[in-house]
C-alpha cells in the first residue's frame, strides 16, 4: 500500500553495533540526567552545603580533552593502516584515562581536606551528589579503558588482524562520549548546579 517498488538495497546503513552504542549512550545520558535533575531539585530545598570545586578538576578536564584528541589521532592512524602509531596512540589514550581517574580521586581527597565530607554520617547531600555523579562517570571512563585494552590486544593478533574500522570507531565514539559527558558535568557543577 505504501510506496511499492521503491525499496532500495543499496542504501548506506549504520552498522548495528554502532547503532546499539548510540542507543546505549542515550540510556547513559538518561541516568546522568536523572541524577543532575535530582541535584537541582534537592539544591532548591533547605540544608544545602555550598562549596567550590578544587583546582585539580581543571587539570583532569584538560587531561580528558587531550585524551579525546589522541583517540581521534589513533582512529586516523588505524585507517591509514599505521598500526605501530595506532598502538602507541591508544596506549597513550588509555594512560590518560587512568590519569583522569587518578586526578578525580585527588580531587575528592582535596575536598576532604577542606572539610567537605562526601559520604558517611554527617555528609551533606550536595557533596554526596558530587561524589556519586563523578564516581559513576569515572566508572564509565574505566569501562572505556578496558575497551581500549581489548582493542590493543586485538591489534596484536596477527592472524586475524583485520582492518575493519568498526570496532575501533565504536570505542572511539564511546570515548568521546564520556569526554563530553564530563565536560557537561564540569560545567554543571561549576556554573549551573
Amino acid at each position: 500500500m505504501y510506496m511499492e517498488n521503491t525499496v532500495s538495497t543499496e542504501r548506506k546503513r549504520i552498522h548495528p553495533h554502532k547503532f546499539t552504542l548510540w542507543v546505549a549512550m542515550g540510556s547513559i545520558v538518561m541516568m546522568f540526567a536523572g541524577l543532575t535533575s535530582a541535584y537541582i531539585v534537592k539544591r532548591n530545598q533547605s540544608n544545602w552545603l555550598e562549596f567550590g570545586l578544587p583546582a585539580v578538576f581543571w587539570y583532569s578536564t584538560a587531561v580528558i580533552i587531550i585524551s579525546s584528541v589522541t583517540m581521534h589521532l589513533a582512529v586516523k592512524a588505524f585507517k591509514a593502516k599505521e598500526m605501530a602509531r595506532y598502538r602507541k596512540l591508544i596506549t597513550l589514550t588509555a594512560g590518560l584515562g587512568l590519569l583522569f581517574a587518578g586526578l578525580q580521586f585527588i580531587g575528592f581527597s582535596a575536598l576532604h581536606k577542606n572539610g567537605v565530607q562526601l559520604f558517611g554520617i554527617g555528609s551533606n547531600p550536595s557533596a554526596s551528589f558530587l561524589g556519586i555523579i563523578t564516581g559513576l562517570h569515572v566508572l564509565h571512563v574505566l569501562g572505556g579503558v578496558v575497551a581500549l585494552i581489548v582493542s590493543f590486544a586485538r591489534a596484536f593478533r596477527v592472524r586475524t588482524r583485520s582492518y575493519a574500522a568498526t570496532p575501533v570507531e565504536v570505542v572511539a565514539t564511546y570515548w568521546h562520549f564520556v569526554d563530553i559527558l564530563w565536560i557537561y558535568l564540569f560545567i554543571f557543577f561549576n556554573w549551573i548546579g
Binding site: 525499496v7 547503532f19 547531600p125
Partner: protein, 605 residues
C-alpha cells in the same frame, strides 16, 4: 542517531542480515545445553522468558490469594497456613509483617517479573525476528545474557523470601525512609538488600534486551519491510523498548542514591527521623520526595512498558480474526508515539498529595488528561476494526477483545484520578487499586493470554485445547470484573489501601461481606488459571498437531516459516515483503500475505 533509519518509509536492508546468514543452516550438533539452556535462538529465549514469567505469575498470584484470605476472613484461622508459612502465620493467622511482605512481593513480581519480563521479554524475543524477517536478533549473545540476568534477578528475589527477617515489606514502590533504614522494620533489613540487588540485575537485563530489540527492528528488516509495513505488534514492541531504555536508567540512579543512604551514611532521602528502638538519626538535609520523582519517572513509563505489547498484539490479533484491515494504521502508530512522549511527562500524577506545588500539579493534570486522547484513538480504531467484521472467535481473539473492554473500563477511572482535586480523596484508596489492576494488571494479562493462544501453534507446532481456553476466558473475564469492580465503591467510600485489618474502623465494617465475596472470587479465578497452565503444558506434548503453515490465515511473515522453524527461521532465503500486513478481505480475497507481490490490477486504498 540515524533518523534516516528511524523514519524512512523505504529502507532496504541489503547486507545487514547477511552477517547472520550462517545461522540459517545446520546446527545439527546442538546439545541439550546449547539448545534449551544457554540458547542464543531468539525463539527459545522467548520461551524461557515465558515459562519463567509463568512460574512468577503462579507465585505472585498465590501471594495475592494469601493476603486476600486475611482481608476476606480477618477473624478466621487456617491451620494449614502455619504449615506452609511457619512463623509468618502463627496459629493459622497471617501476621502483619507477612501480610506486608506478601503485598510487596506480589506487586514487585507481577509488575516487573511477570508483566515486563514475561510479557515484552517473551513476545519481543519471539516475534521481532520472525515478523521483521530476520534470522535472529542483532546480538544473539546479548539477548541470551538478558535472559540470564533476569534469571539471576529471579533467583535473588526468590531467595529473599527465605531469609530470617523476611522479604522487603514496604510496598512495590520501595519509598524511603522505610526502604532506606534497616532499623525501620524487619523487611527493611536483608530482604531489602536482596530486593535492590534483584532489581539492579533486572534493570541490566532490561537494558540489554531493549538495546537489542531496537537495533533489530531498525537494522535487520528484510528486503521490502519498510517501517510503514511493519505489523503493529512490532511498532508496539519497538516503543516499549524505547521507553525501557530511557526510563530504567533513571530508576537505576534512584536506586544508587538509595543504596548509598542504606549503606554509606548519606542523606539523600533522609532527614529528621526518629526510630522508636534507635532514637533520633543523625541524617539531615535529605528529601524522601526526591525518590518519588526518580521512581515515578520510571514508574509511569513502566506502566506503558507493560501495556504497549498488549496493545500491539491485540491490534494484530483483532485484525487477523476480524478478517479486516486494521482501521487507521498510521493513527495507531501515531498514538503509540504520542503515548510514549506523554508517558514521560506525567509522572507527578502519582504525587499530587505530596505537597507538590499546585501550579505544577495543574500542568501534570493537563498532561495526564491529554494521554486520554491517543488512548481513545486506539480504542476507537479497535472497535472500528471489529465493526461489521467477519469475526472468528478464536481464544486469542476473545482475549484481545477482553483486553479492549478492560482497557476502556480502567482507562475511564484514570481520568478521574488524573484530576488533582479528585485525587485528594481517591489517592491511596482501593479506587487506585481497582484502576490499575483493571487497566494494567488484568488488561495486560489478557494481552499476554491472547498472544500465547494466538502464537502457540508457531511456538510449539501444536494447538491448545479450545474448550479449556473458552472456559478460561469467560471465567477469568467475569472473575476479574467481580474482583475489581466493587473495589471502586470501597475506594470512593474512602477505604485506604495497604491496611492489614479494617476491623476497628467503624465506617468500613460495611465492607466485610464485600471483601469476603472478593476474596472468594480471587480463589476461584486463581484456580481457573491452573486450567490455563494445564492446557499450556499438556498441549506442548499432546496438543493437536498443526498441519498447515498458516493456521489462522494470517498475513505476517512468521507464518511463512516451517511449522517448527529451526535456528535461523527460514531454511532458504528470507522472503521479500511487498505490502503491509493488513490486506484482509481486499478485492474479494480473504487475505494476502505480505510476501505476495502487488498485482497490476490491485486496488489501492
Amino acid at each position: 542517531m540515524s533518523n534516516e533509519a528511524v523514519l524512512h518509509g523505504n529502507v532496504g536492508v541489503g547486507h545487514s542480515h547477511d552477517a547472520h546468514a550462517d545461522h540459517g543452516h545446520g546446527h545439527h550438533h546442538e546439545t541439550f545445553i546449547t539448545k534449551y539452556v544457554f540458547s542464543q535462538d531468539h525463539k527459545m529465549i522467548g520461551k524461557q522468558f515465558l515459562i519463567t514469567g509463568m512460574v512468577w505469575a503462579i507465585l505472585g498470584g498465590l501471594m495475592s490469594v494469601l493476603f486476600r484470605l486475611q482481608l476476606g476472613y480477618p477473624d478466621s484461622s487456617f491451620p494449614w497456613l502455619e504449615d506452609i508459612l511457619g512463623k509468618w502465620a502463627k496459629g493459622g493467622h497471617i501476621s502483619a509483617e507477612a501480610y506486608y511482605a506478601l503485598v510487596t512481593t506480589h506487586g514487585t513480581v507481577l509488575v516487573f517479573f511477570v508483566l515486563t519480563a514475561g510479557l515484552s521479554g517473551t513476545f519481543s524475543n519471539f516475534l521481532i525476528p520472525l515478523q521483521v524477517g530476520a534470522r535472529d536478533m542483532a546480538s544473539p549473545l546479548m539477548n541470551m545474557l538478558s535472559y540470564w540476568f533476569f534469571f539471576m534477578a529471579s533467583v535473588v528475589m526468590l531467595s529473599s523470601l527465605f531469609v530470617e527477617t523476611g522479604p522487603f515489606s514496604g510496598g512495590w514502590t520501595a519509598y524511603p525512609p522505610l526502604s532506606a533504614l534497616g532499623d525501620a522494620s524487619d523487611g527493611s533489613k536483608t530482604g531489602m538488600d536482596l530486593w535492590l540487588v534483584a532489581m539492579a540485575l533486572f534493570v541490566v537485563s532490561q537494558l540489554l534486551a531493549g538495546l537489542n530489540y531496537i537495533a533489530t527492528i531498525l537494522n535487520m528488516r528484510t528486503k521490502g519491510m519498510s517501517m510503514t509495513r511493519l505489523p503493529l505488534t512490532i511498532w508496539a514492541l519497538f516503543f516499549t523498548a524505547v521507553l525501557g531504555v530511557l526510563s530504567f536508567p533513571v530508576l537505576f540512579s534512584g536506586f544508587i542514591l538509595l543504596i548509598f543512604d542504606r549503606n554509606f551514611g548519606t542523606s539523600f532521602y533522609l532527614s529528621d527521623i526518629f526510630i522508636a528502638s534507635v532514637g533520633a538519626l543523625p541524617n539531615e538535609g535529605g528529601s524522601a520526595i526526591l525518590y518519588q520523582h526518580l521512581f515515578w519517572f520510571l514508574g509511569h513509563p513502566e506502566v506503558y512498558i507493560i501495556l504497549l505489547p498488549a496493545m500491539g498484539m491485540a491490534s494484530e490479533i483483532i485484525s487477523t480474526n476480524a478478517r479486516k484491515p486494521i482501521f487507521g494504521y498510521m493513527a495507531m502508530v501515531g498514538s503509540l508515539f504520542a503515548i510514549v512522549v506523554l508517558g514521560f511527562l506525567v509522572w507527578a500524577h502519582h504525587m499530587f498529595v505530596t505537597g507538590l506545588n499546585p501550579f505544577l500539579g495543574s500542568i501534570f493534570v493537563l498532561m495526564t488528561l491529554l494521554i486520554a486522547v491517543p488512548s481513545a484513538i486506539k480504542v476507537f480504531n479497535w472497535l472500528t476494526t471489529l465493526w461489521r467484521g467477519n469475526i472468528r472467535f478464536t481464544p486469542g481473539m476473545l482475549f484481545a477483545i477482553g483486553f479492549v473492554s478492560l482497557f476502556i473500563s480502567g482507562g475511564l477511572t484514570g481520568i478521574w484520578l488524573g484530576n488533582s482535586a479528585l485525587d485528594i480523596h481517591l489517592h491511596d484508596t482501593y479506587f487506585v487499586i481497582a484502576h490499575f489492576h483493571i487497566v494494567m494488571g488484568v488488561a495486560s494479562m489478557f494481552g499476554m493470554f491472547a498472544g500465547v493462544y494466538h502464537w502457540f501453534p508457531k511456538m510449539y507446532g501444536r494447538y491448545m485445547n479450545h474448550t479449556l481456553a473458552y472456559t478460561h476466558f469467560w471465567l477469568t473475564l467475569i472473575g476479574a470484573y467481580l474482583i475489581f469492580w466493587p473495589m471502586h465503591y470501597e475506594g470512593l467510600a474512602g477505604m485506604p489501601r495497604r491496611y492489614y485489618d479494617y476491623g476497628n474502623w467503624e465506617s468500613f465494617k460495611q465492607f466485610l461481606e464485600l471483601n469476603r465475596f472478593i476474596s472468594t472470587v480471587v480463589i476461584i479465578v486463581f484456580c481457573v488459571q491452573l486450567l490455563f497452565l494445564f492446557n499450556f503444558f499438556y498441549s506442548i506434548f499432546k496438543g493437536r498437531k498443526v498441519t498447515t503453515l498458516n493456521p489462522w490465515g494470517s498475513n505476517t511473515l512468521e507464518w511463512t516459516t516451517p511449522i517448527r522453524p529451526g535456528h535461523g527461521n527460514w531454511p532458504g532465503e528470507i522472503p521479500e515483503v511487498h505490502r503491509w500486513a493488513y490486506d484482509y478481505g481486499k478485492d474479494g480475497q480473504d487475505f494476502i500475505p505480505q510476501t505476495t507481490p502487488v498485482g497490476d490490477n490491485e486496488s489501492h486504498h
